[in-house]
């Protein structure tokens, strides 16, 4: 008889605990959906996008809607899953869509030899702005469109560089 009473006492607390946990769970799910499907912030660093992005690291806002609707255009800065290491994300600029013919020089330091490629269907050509310090499509070839995960919108940190990326 006594344990029945205890059970009743705990039922109220358990119900409340469940409510609180479910609120937290719903909130986390909302964060996940926003981060994956709408807009997210990323910290990018490295020399491959100088002078657009700083060497020491910037925080940029990236949106994840355009690539689902196929609206990635030439000159967009995109977040791409690296084709050589799928656990890493790289930020580069799209310089060629499918069907475009591009020519680039194999070694920008040395200089004159130029290679011409046609971007195959379903792929894009990405390149860093800093040609001398960037491993991009000149090294690993055109990347499949499905590896694109987001398009950079604007830079939010450091504050003096706040603004849209072009």
């Amino acid at each position: 008889m006594r344990w029945l009473r205890y059970l009743n006492q705990w039922r109220g607390t358990a119900k409340e605990a469940f409510e609180q946990v479910s609120i937290v769970a719903k909130f986390l799910c909302l964060i996940h959906v926003t981060d994956r499907y709408i807009i997210s912030s990323t910290h990018v660093q490295g020399p491959s996008m100088l002078p657009t992005l700083n060497l020491t690291g910037d925080v940029i806002l990236a949106e994840h809607l355009s690539h689902r609707f196929g609206k990635i255009g030439l000159g967009d800065i995109v977040l791409v899953r690296s084709p050589t290491d799928p656990t890493r994300m790289v930020t580069k600029r799209v310089l060629g869509l499918e069907g475009h013919r591009l020519s680039f020089s194999a070694d920008p330091l040395v200089g004159d030899s130029s290679i011409s490629v046609v971007v195959p269907k379903g792929h894009v050509w990405i390149q860093g702005d800093n040609l001398y310090a960037s491993t991009d499509s000149r090294n690993f070839g055109p990347v499949p469109y499905s590896l694109i995960e987001g398009k950079a919108l604007l830079r939010v940190w450091p504050p003096r560089f706040f603004g849209s990326l072009r």
């Binding site: 769970a25 719903k26 986390l28 799910c29 909302l30 996940h32 959906v33 994956r36 499907y37 899953r81 690296s82 084709p83 050589t84 290491d85 799928p86 656990t87 195959p120 269907k121 379903g122 792929h123 690993f140 990347v143 499949p144 469109y145 499905s146 590896l147």
Partner: protein
Amino acid sequence: MHVAENHILEKAILDMGIQTLIWQVTKKAFTGGIIGLTISDRFCSVVPVRGDSMSPTFNPQRDSYLDDYVLVDKFCLKDYKFARGDVVVFSSPSHYKERYIKRIVGIPGEWISSTEDVIRVPEGNCWVEGDNKASSLDSRTFGPVSPLCSPLTHYFFTDSEHSFGVNSRTGHSCRVASSKTTQTWWIKLLEKEKGET
């Protein structure tokens, strides 16, 4: 006069009732949708298998009207560690909206012999092939697949006739539903993979 006012009042209350009802329903649907989306992104989701490029593993009967449905596990997307013999779902390199389901036959660094020459699978890519070699559009056509871009893999299968769980990654123990047919299927699959590799 009073009757007319009462009618208007009643109508106003009814309208509010319907509005709150609609609001409640939308809220519940929205919450449910978000939770479902999170679960299907992070834990597992169900994917139909079309075509017979993976017979007899999936869709063994050619003219059955029902597709096999596969439970796809998403935990592996944390590390992207795949082994030979895994069945994976990936986006086609030439049509990013289409998703294919095939088996990994070569992991990065291995040499695969195709019709004319021997190809080395580059880092970060995988060589996939369907089980039914005769009718399968796979790496023999479009080359090594870049990191199984997009939602992926691992196979439990539930189909219209029997539901059983098999983890066909070699070396993993699997939780199998207790039924004789299930266990024999698992043993058959394991043997088949051993034979292949």
